[in-house]
Amino acid sequence: MSFSEVTLSMLEGTKYTLGLFFITLLIAIPFGMVIAAFELSKSKIVSSITKGFVWIIRGTPLMLQLIVVMYVPGLVFGMPMRERFLAAIIAFGINYAAYFAEIYRGGIQSIPQGQYEAGYVLGFKRKQIVSRIVIPQVFKRIMPPMSNEVITLVKDTSLANIIGIVEIIMTAKTIVSTKGIIWPLFYTGVFYLVMSGVLTILFNYIEKKLDYYKI
């Protein structure tokens, strides 16, 4: 198999990697906000249940979660998961939402009480304090940990090969086992480096844009 043939089939795998990456972000970014809101809820019951949920998700390997989402519906409920990609999206979406939620929560809690108080004495509504004062600052604060987590996600997508998603690593493994050449496996690194490189540049750009003020 020539270099260009390998590249072409790996690009095919990249489609799944990127698809999983973007759909996970699309789910996890908003869902993480919901989890963070529940974690910060005044109701002790709601916040403890949510914290328990986050503990389970962060406390077990993503690989295990993939397997659970893929096989438990069929084994326990008699409704086999028919779409492997859907299973991957569910597992990744929930897992990353839990991690994002912790980042959001940390960001929200790091805003000093004085900012809320200043808003109140100036006659702001609670809603205005949240939208005009808190969220913009939280946005800046969470950028570094978010960029870290998003770059991790690119690499984590490779775990989806455990349930048979034909992403980059899976593609390379197939080539290795069918064609008897080993180098495509190492070649996958280039694909991940390009993707994480683009993300690094993007996040640096955003952080620079937000650099006009300091908290």
């Binding site: 004085g114 109140y120 004495v121």
Partner: protein, 305 residues
């Protein structure tokens, strides 16, 4: 009737009584300095009259508008027939006197708490009403609390602009013109477009003062406005506050700057242990304090210098 009246403010945090019934009056245009050692309740008092802390009991009036009116719960009225029966039963039991006293007090305080909750429920103010009331007051914090992501001008105009969007009134142009005037007054015309992180502490505090003034409060409160500042920056902030004195602003300043209290204030209040130990003109308080506690405090303050 005085322009600004605070009467019988009380506040407990758990079992510590922070304010034990504080009352004072301020005339329009007066500057009142509140002095006292840390933990005497000065800051809590300011926070109470600015709606940041809800007092347990107390009344605050500005002009003829009542801002806060929280009545004391009368234990006699709070007790239900059931509670009374309970108390009678405790009293007729063969416990020691102290145990009976303890138990009776528990029943009474429980009944009072319940009555208090009921009162709070019945007299709950809408967010709108609280906002309208608190706008009679202005507040400048020890730690400035500027909004770091807005520039100086936006910090000063944001609240007024949001307000105008809701209720009409001034145009954005008018709000900005006024903000620029205020910033000139605090000596920061050249920093309008800067962000708070680019300013010194003293400059940030002056922005905070302009920000509070932008909403035309009836009474402007300062919570130790210079305590977070280097000595050389303290002067510029105090000068601004002194400058406001001639503009008809009514001000309450919690401060550790005795010289400032002596020279600028029309009235000085010395607080100790959650009560006003002594109040009077600066001459009276500094020149001829009547209370032993005031004397001791002032002596200590002198010693430091």
């Amino acid at each position: 009737m005085a322009f600004f009246e605070v009467s019988n403010i009380r506040k407990d945090f758990g079992s510590t009584q922070v304010l034990k019934g504080v009352s004072f009056e301020v005339e329009k245009g007066q500057v009142v300095a509140i002095i006292g050692s840390s933990g005497s309740g000065k800051t809590t008092l300011l926070r109470c009259i600015n709606f940041l802390v809800t007092p347990d009991v107390g009344t605050v009036k500005v002009g003829d508008k009542v801002l806060i009116d929280i009545p004391e719960i009368d234990p006699d009225q709070a007790l239900s027939d059931k509670d009374r029966a309970k108390i009678a039963k405790i009293k007729s039991s063969n416990l020691t006197k102290e145990e009976i006293g303890d138990k009776v007090n528990k029943v009474i305080s429980k009944a009072c708490k319940k009555a208090k909750k009921q009162w709070e429920k019945a007299n709950k103010l809408s967010e709108e009403e609280i906002r309208n009331r608190r706008l009679h007051m202005g507040m400048v914090f020890q730690s400035f609390n500027l909004f770091p992501h807005y520039n100086v001008l936006d910090n000063v105009t944001l609240a007024a602009k949001l307000r105008a969007k809701e209720t009409g009134g001034a145009t954005e142009q008018e709000i900005e013109t006024k903000a620029l005037e205020l910033l000139a007054k605090v000596g920061l015309s050249d920093k309008v477009k800067n962000y708070p992180c680019e300013l010194s502490g003293g400059q940030q505090q002056r922005v905070a003062i302009a920000r509070a003034l932008a909403l035309n409060p009836d009474v402007l409160c300062f919570d130790e406005p210079t305590s977070a500042l280097d000595p050389e920056l303290t002067g510029e902030v105090l000068k601004v506050i002194k400058g406001l004195k001639n503009t008809d602003s009514t001000m309450i300043v919690v401060t550790h700057e005795m010289e400032f209290a002596r020279k600028v204030a029309d009235k000085v209040i010395y607080m100790s242990d959650g009560v006003i130990e002594e109040q009077g003109t600066p001459e009276e308080i500094f020149g001829n304090p009547k209370s032993e506690k005031t004397k001791a405090f002032l002596q200590k303050a002198e010693e430091v210098i």
